[in-house]
Symmetry: none
Subunit: 244 residues, 2 copies
């Protein structure tokens, strides 16, 4: 598994540097920044011997660019969830994985996983969360659930690195590519439309499907079988429409 760490609009360069250091501590190196603060001396100092990670970080202005080529998108949420996020999560009933569950799920898998970490003050917003295939939350004390950005990053990197090393004797399976998953979403949307699905429910159901498929971590073969199934159903329905 290749981990791409995506910091969305980080506010403090010290945190960006600290995240870079924690990445290198656990063997990760691909850092991507979306509209970051300016990285100055303090950020470099906090990166310490992980300056190389920081210097090689790519910056983008949109999250879509930052996610290009990722096979799976994982969003981090804390209990700092603002109302909008909270409603979204309740609305979608997205089971949120703990850091350990996520690590177990990803261990031994191939492909690029984008791990989204939000702003220090308000995390990821609803639109950003909607781009995620899975959500992860670190179990914290209800007395003070809000972790420092680089601390939560360090804990997540730690968990992912542990799981990777525990599963060293890899049972590696080819995971569905981001491209195949995108095709699967596109074809599902067409199928939904062709069943006269209530238009006001379409977006919600597609998002739910995306989450379910994301959590299921499809292999390439499974994704292809599902594509075949959808094709077959669409064909069956189309035959009927032609006869009308």
């Amino acid at each position: 598994m290749n981990l791409r760490v995506v910091l969305v609009e980080p506010l403090y360069d010290g945190n960006v540097g600290s995240v870079a250091r924690a990445m290198k501590n656990f063997g990760f190196s691909e850092l991507v920044l979306v509209n970051p603060c300016k990285i100055e001396d303090f950020g470099l100092a906090m990166a310490s011997h992980a300056r190389d990670v920081l210097m090689m970080a790519r910056s983008f202005t949109t999250i879509q660019e930052a996610l290009a080529g990722a096979d799976l998108v994982v969003g981090t949420t804390g209990k700092r969830l603002d109302e909008a996020q909270h409603h979204l999560r309740l609305h979608l009933r997205v089971p949120c994985l703990t850091s350990r569950e996520l690590a177990k799920k990803l261990s031994g898998k191939e492909g690029t996983v984008a791990l989204l970490l939000g702003r220090e003050d308000c995390g990821l917003n609803s639109e950003e969360l909607a781009l995620c295939d899975m959500l992860v939350s670190i179990p914290t004390s209800s007395d003070y659930p809000v972790m420092n950005l680089s601390h939560s990053a360090a804990v997540l990197f730690y968990e992912l690195a542990q799981a990777e090393s525990e599963c060293a004797d890899g049972c590696n399976v080819e995971m569905a590519s981001g491209e195949t998953l995108a095709l699967l979403r596109e074809k599902s949307a067409q199928l939904l439309k062709e069943t006269d699905y209530p238009p006001h429910k379409v977006d919600f159901t597609l998002l739910m499907l995306r989450r379910i498929l994301g959590r299921a971590e499809l292999t390439q073969r499974e994704a292809r079988t599902l594509l075949g199934l959808i094709k077959r159903m669409r064909w069956k329905i189309a035959c009927r429409e032609m006869r009308k």
Copy 2:
């Protein structure tokens, strides 16, 4: 278990504040400082809403005072261990556990555990290590094993808190019942049949679907939505059959 966090001669108040914050994030509150740097505004800022932990921290000039009343003393070491420490460890036959092993060992135990964290630049010295009943080390990348003090603290607190309660108060969601899942499998099988799926592939595809849905750990609501989708597709296909 009562955890006492002992910072030995910390050099930077930002780190002390960050450690206090991480403690509170994971439900710990007893902080003890041995010959600390002066805690100024930056330290307080880094503690954020864990100022109370920082304000209640006790300071001592000797490590012996800091350890008074502890039932077990655990020292943290990194791969930064210099030769002297390495020899000492071999010599003392102090078991060095990984963070996860330590958490498992301590989980469910009673008493006060003092967790010693050393200086940012050189950790704990040989005499300090000799006071420890156990050593703990976080598995890190050999490329850059030296973690930021508050990051390693956060990872250790996280592990200890996880072991204490594998599942804190989490995002509780009603998972799909076995009954609903059985219904989903039954309806999928019917749908497959109605799309004239090649009979010799049916069993294989149903098993694949079962695996995918199993891994996705559906919520009750998601399972119901999928049932609705299947019903709609079957209805669409049936309409066509009736017209034949």
